[in-house]
């Protein structure tokens, strides 16, 4: 998601309320310092149980969530919070960009996924984008999704409307994976930025809801589900 421009028309409002979940105190301190005054860090947690209670207490806009933690990791937090606090957005922030971690978190309900090598500006942008309800897709994540849908079987699937990525969505993902920003994708495909964002959001939604059997098989092969 490098070099992605902020959402068009995202008017600057009050500072976003951000919550950090990571089991490394040093990393939390680093992120807090990097974010500085751009967002308001309302709380931190170092474990799943602590995160669940403190997120419920503080009610942040966006939770920056680490993937690998003792006692269940980010996925456990997501699964605990998703039903009770649907308004809280989750952005996974992990040192790992292994396919199973990325797709696993997205399927659990995270709205985006960035790696810890991200620059502070890009991280702020990603937080804002997620808070606005958009998806944050890294080229790598787009690559994983394409990979999952790459080997199509000849037999058509039952519910193509819901299950399959449309050609357009695949095209958008491909450009995303090639390193295009949303703005550039819009220009390349002669569509508006909002449409690009809709396509990306749809991909994310399908990732979470899909019962398309290749994706589940793909996930099962890598023991994601």
């Amino acid at each position: 998601m490098s070099e992605q421009e902020p959402v068009e028309g995202a008017a600057p409002r009050g500072p976003l309320r951000v919550f950090l979940v990571d089991d490394h105190a040093m990393f939390r301190a680093g992120v807090r310092a990097e974010l500085g005054t751009r967002v308001e860090v309302v709380g931190e947690a170092s474990s799943v149980a602590e995160a669940v209670t403190r997120i419920a207490a503080t009610g942040p806009d966006v939770v920056l969530l680490d993937v690998h933690m003792p006692d269940g990791g980010g996925r456990a937090v997501l699964e605990a919070m998703r039903r009770t606090h649907p308004q809280v957005k989750f952005l996974a922030l992990s040192v790992s960009d292994a396919a199973e971690d990325v797709i696993g978190l997205i399927r659990a309900g995270a709205r985006g996924y960035v790696t810890k090598t991200i620059s502070p500006e890009e991280l702020t942008d990603a937080i804002r984008r997620v808070a606005d309800g958009d998806a944050v897709f890294s080229p790598r994540l787009a690559g994983f999704v394409l990979d999952a849908f790459a080997s199509r079987p000849d037999a058509p699937v039952a519910d193509p409307e819901l299950d399959q990525l449309t050609n357009r969505e695949r095209e958008v993902l491909r450009l995303l994976a090639r390193g295009y920003a949303y703005k550039e994708i819009a220009k390349e495909l002669f569509i508006s930025i909002k449409t690009v964002e809709t396509h990306v959001s749809n991909v994310l939604r399908k990732l979470q809801m899909s019962n398309r059997y290749e994706l589940s098989r793909w996930a099962a092969d890598r023991r994601l589900v």
């Binding site: 490098s2 790992s96 090598t117 690559g143 990979d147 080997s151 994976a177 090639r178 390193g179």
Partner: protein, 425 residues
């Protein structure tokens, strides 16, 4: 005589018609069989005991009956909390009586036939099994029942020292009886009964050996297994420690020394990150065999040489051949150009393997250039990228605008046998 009569109130909730014959836990000498029967029939316990002793003379029938009752009849429920009271001195007269009965039998009848031997053997085995069965607690017995081979647990389980000693003695007795029996049967005249007896004794002996050595073998095997697991863990730990020492610590030391040189620090950190990432997540593949591995190696070389970040995304994978190798080489050249001329920190490399074509895209957001103004003597783009792709039946497009960055598109159609794209990345 009569133990205080207790109503089986506990079991009545479990079964509508609880068995009314129980082994007594009070006033018992052995397992409480005789006392239980006496109480059930309402006769003095002494008569029951004497009856058992007399039956002992009939080829060990008394012993066999006793063992059978022992195994089948449950102890009186609700009495488990009562401490077992056993008057061993009282047991002595009955042992004497039993020996007397046996002696009388030997003197009076002077021989013990095959049927008699078999009866005794069965009785001894039954008692031995009873010892093993009953010296364990009921909850442990339930535990054995859950396992696939219930009796195996009874034989091999290592519970405590006392149980082990008991089993050892029981098994030892069986072994001795077996060996003595084999010797006794084989020394006299050879007839069918003798052979049969010999087989029976041999089986008894084997069973005894099994009972005695079972726990030891089991323990040894467990020890060997845990030792092997420990060794494997230790080996993995040593490998990890060696890797951390050889790579991570050295990189960190170099970073400390070059702390002022941002570019060097970035290059070191990037290289180390890639190496750790590969070590943790990537299945190893040979760059000479697989397309994705070859591309990633090329990207890594460029990263290390020019201290930039190459964001590599490869979708799908296939085996390499000469043409695919040419595509990798062209992509590498495009990466080098971007690193050298674009003046950026990050370059994107995306490659996709489709059934009908392999494509790669190298994109940067750097200075860009006007392709028409490239001088004729500059061969990098024309020769290494466009020409190379053309020679191998593919095509290369270069799209660049000053200020907008550059994208190099490499497309290689696949025909014939190599067209099976493999997706097992």
């Amino acid at each position: 005589m009569s133990a205080p009569t207790r109503e089986p109130e506990i079991t009545s909730t479990v079964t509508p018609h609880p068995p009314r014959l129980y082994r007594a836990t009070e006033h018992r000498l052995g397992a409480g069989v005789a006392a239980g029967i006496a109480e059930h029939l309402g006769i003095p316990v002494l008569r029951v005991r004497v009856a058992f002793m007399v039956l002992l003379g009939l080829s060990g029938l008394g012993l066999l009956l006793y063992a059978a009752f022992w195994a089948v009849v449950p102890p009186r429920p609700g009495d488990t909390a009562a401490p077992p009271r056993r008057d061993l001195a009282q047991l002595l007269p009955f042992v004497v009586i039993g020996l007397g009965v046996l002696l009388l039998q030997v003197v009076a009848f002077d021989s013990v036939g095959a049927a008699g031997t078999a009866g005794w053997l069965v009785a001894i085995i039954a008692v031995g099994a009873g010892v093993i069965w009953h010296q364990s607690g009921p909850e442990r017995r339930r535990q054995w029942g859950d396992s696939a081979v219930p009796w195996l647990g009874a034989v091999v389980e290592e519970s405590d020292r006392r149980a082990f000693v008991l089993r050892f003695i029981g098994g030892g007795v069986l072994v001795a009886v077996g060996i003595i029996g084999v010797a006794a049967v084989y020394s006299p005249a050879q007839n069918f009964d003798a052979v049969l007896n010999g087989v029976i004794f041999a089986l008894v002996g084997l069973a005894g050996v099994g009972v005695v050595t079972g726990p030891v073998l089991w323990r040894t095997w467990n020890q060997l297994r845990s030792e092997r697991e420990g060794r494997i863990r230790e080996q993995e730990r040593a490998e990890l420690a060696a890797m951390v020492h050889d790579q991570v610590l050295h990189t960190l030391a170099l970073i400390q020394r070059n702390a002022s040189d941002v570019k060097t620090v970035q290059r070191l950190a990037r290289g180390q990150e890639r190496s750790l990432r590969n070590w943790l997540y990537k299945p190893t593949a040979s760059p000479t065999e697989r397309f994705a591995a070859a591309l990633e190696q090329a990207a890594a070389e460029v990263e290390d040489t020019f201290a930039i970040t190459v964001e590599t995304v490869v979708v799908g994978d296939r085996e390499t051949d000469e043409r695919v190798g040419a595509l990798v080489a062209a992509a590498r050249e495009a990466l080098v150009n971007a690193a050298r001329h674009a003046g950026v920190q990050t370059v994107s490399l995306y490659a996709e393997v489709e059934p009908e074509q392999v494509s790669a895209f190298v994109r940067d957001r750097g200075k860009g250039f006007d392709p028409d103004t490239v001088e004729n003597h500059r061969h990098g783009v024309r020769g290494s990228i466009i020409g190379r792709m053309k020679r191998h039946g593919g095509r290369a497009e270069i799209r660049s605008e000053p200020g907008e960055g550059t994208e190099v598109r490499l497309i290689l159609p696949i025909t014939g046998s190599g067209s099976t794209a493999e997706r097992d990345r």
